[in-house]
């Protein structure tokens, strides 16, 4: 129940009427890596409502693909009302997005889910960890966080967003092929540099999150992780996107939490990986 209180203070849960379905113009589209694209969207209200670690549902323009593509918010420009999404071409939907140029519109719903609990980390020593296409949300999280920030980013080979991240704190990099930073994964980098923190915020592939959950348990530190699951509604209605929860969830009354609404950011101890 302690957790519940924390959750209540997380962004996105305060107000019932915070999600918008909008048609957003693409402001810019840029290839920033091998199959990795960065897109700025002009929103009406979404950017204003958004916080770090939340995501948006992006809809395909082609009627054969109806479900949303959930994409994390990489940067928020509240002044201009713009959102930055950084995504990898993984299939037909993201391929479509990557081919759209500035001026074309996309249907976007958001902001969705609960972001990272920045208040929890304020003034503390924080490890911000991103792996692969889990790196983008860590940028806005780093930007907003008022704390001692240590960034650890794990790549397969080619780096992306590292310029943007470098300004946000001490940046450590791990690459699987050893082409930059530590050879290996983010935990290898953490161990190599003997990095220590009071709290972890992380987003990345399941194996990484699983390893971090164990690491945090050993080190007895609080660890918040952002999870992924296939989605249909994106707002908590269809029960498509659940992850297993340690305890019986107060909404579902079974051992399931909805990634889209109860997450995507969870305490590592409240979910099974």
């Amino acid at each position: 129940m302690g957790r519940c209180k924390i959750a209540k203070s997380r962004p996105g849960e305060k107000n019932m009427s915070t999600k918008k379905m909008e048609t957003c113009k693409i402001v810019s589209q840029e290839k920033i890596g091998n199959g990795i694209y960065s897109m700025w969207l002009q929103t009406e209200e979404i950017a204003g409502l958004a916080s770090a670690g939340q995501f948006v549902s992006v809809y395909s323009r082609d009627g054969s693909r109806l479900l949303p593509r959930p994409i994390s918010i990489c940067e928020i420009d509240k002044e201009r009302g713009c959102l930055r999404l950084v995504y990898r071409v993984a299939g037909k939907g993201t391929l479509e997005f990557s081919r759209l140029h500035a001026g074309i519109s996309l249907k976007v719903m958001g902001p969705l889910g609960n972001g990272f609990p920045l208040e929890e980390a304020r003034g503390r020593r924080v490890l911000l960890i991103g792996g692969g296409i889990g790196i983008p949300p860590m940028l806005e999280t780093a930007k907003q966080l008022e704390a001692e920030k240590i960034l650890v980013m794990g790549y397969k080979d080619e780096l992306f967003l590292e310029e943007d991240l470098r300004g946000q704190g001490k940046l450590y990099v791990a690459t699987e092929d050893g082409s930059a930073g530590t050879r290996g994964n983010v935990l290898d980098a953490i161990r190599e540099h003997e990095l220590k923190a009071e709290i972890i915020f992380a987003c990345g592939p399941s194996p990484m999150l699983k390893a971090l959950k164990e690491y945090a348990a050993q080190e007895k530190i609080v660890c918040w992780i952002s999870m992924e699951e296939r989605m249909a509604c994106g707002i908590g209605a269809c029960l498509g996107c659940v992850c297993q929860s340690k305890d019986i969830d107060s909404h579902s009354h079974v051992h399931n939490k909805r990634v889209c609404k109860d997450g995507p950011v969870f305490l590592s101890t409240e979910v099974e990986l």
């Binding site: 915070t18 379905m21 269809c238 609404k261």
Partner: protein, 301 residues
């Protein structure tokens, strides 16, 4: 002035547009996008006698023009439902249809009995979820079972009941007639078509459950055909669904013989779809000089 009111088993709906069970939760999530007061009825996610955890993930897969789901009827159980979801819905001026699921007749009966005290308007009995049983034949596919279950439920039900039919049958009119013979007040169709998707890169099933229920625009022609067939076979009202996104889609069902319609998968990509359908039907009626929606029901034969 157009009159969109319809009646199902004595319950008057302000318009024929409902939500499809399982696609709208109990209305709370979508109340951010839709004024529930404007809907004919809200049909809730299926509820069982006890909480069900549902299937493992992935539960969702996209397919061409639609989706597969294998939620496996996750639900918090009838007690929580009565304490939390019914009071929420009762704040709105809309009819409440509770969708009921179970593994066996006793389980359905327990839910129906529990609902007797509740202020809900209709019950929809889901006898067609293909995701629960490992064997491919569910008992919603056997006319004799359907008639028997319907009769058992009717015996104890305080509210009128809608039997929800599966499309995964050779002859849906047989099943619809069985429901009618058992005393059903209405039938609704279609539930999802059983489908499968294989991830050729990973060489696995896209869904943990292997098969899932297919829904969305891709299934509409099958749904319209079945509604038409059932409309020729039974006297009780029909609630049509399967792939409805626009008012035009809804009107296809109504012209084929449905007294009301449900909007399901469309909510996921057009949260305001239900309201757009309500308005679009009104516009169609005005444009075509249709005074009462009744004139449209089954008008194409």
């Amino acid at each position: 002035m157009t009159d969109t009111r319809i009646r199902i088993a004595g319950v008057e709906l302000k318009n024929p547009v409902m939500t499809a069970s399982g696609t709208f939760g109990s209305g709370e999530e979508y109340s951010e996008f839709v004024d529930l007061n404007q809907l004919g009825a809200v049909v809730t996610k299926g509820v069982a006698d006890v909480p069900w955890p549902g299937n493992p993930t992935p539960r969702i897969a996209e397919v061409y023009g639609g989706m597969l789901n294998a939620i496996g009827l996750q639900n918090p159980g009838i007690e929580v439902f009565c304490e939390r979801d019914i009071p929420f819905l009762r704040k709105y001026d809309t009819k409440i249809v509770v969708n009921v699921c179970g593994h066996a007749p006793e389980e359905y009966l327990r839910v129906v009995e529990r609902l007797a005290e509740e202020k809900i308007d209709l019950m929809e009995i889901n006898i067609s979820c293909p995701n629960v049983n490992a064997n491919f034949l569910a008992f919603g596919q056997e006319p004799a079972c359907v008639e028997q279950l319907t009769a058992q439920i009717k015996k104890i039900a305080r509210q009128p009941i809608i039997m929800k039919l599966t499309p995964n049958v050779t002859d849906i009119t047989e099943v619809a007639r069985a429901a009618e013979a058992g005393g059903a007040d209405a039938v609704s169709l279609i539930n999802t078509l059983t489908g499968m998707k294989i991830d050729v890169q990973r060489r696995t099933f896209a869904l943990a459950n292997k098969t899932g229920g297919m829904s969305g625009p891709a299934v509409k022609p099958v749904a319209v055909r079945m509604v038409y067939q059932v409309a020729q076979a039974v006297e009780i009202p029909i609630i049509g669904m399967g792939g409805i996104v626009t008012a035009e889609d809804a009107l296809e069902f109504i012209l084929a013989g449905a007294s009301a319609v449900s909007v399901g998968t469309a909510n996921f990509f057009r949260p305001e779809a239900t309201l757009e359908v309500v308005r679009g039907i009104e516009e169609y009626m005005e444009k075509n000089g249709v005074k009462h929606i009744q004139e449209l029901i089954g008008a194409v034969r």
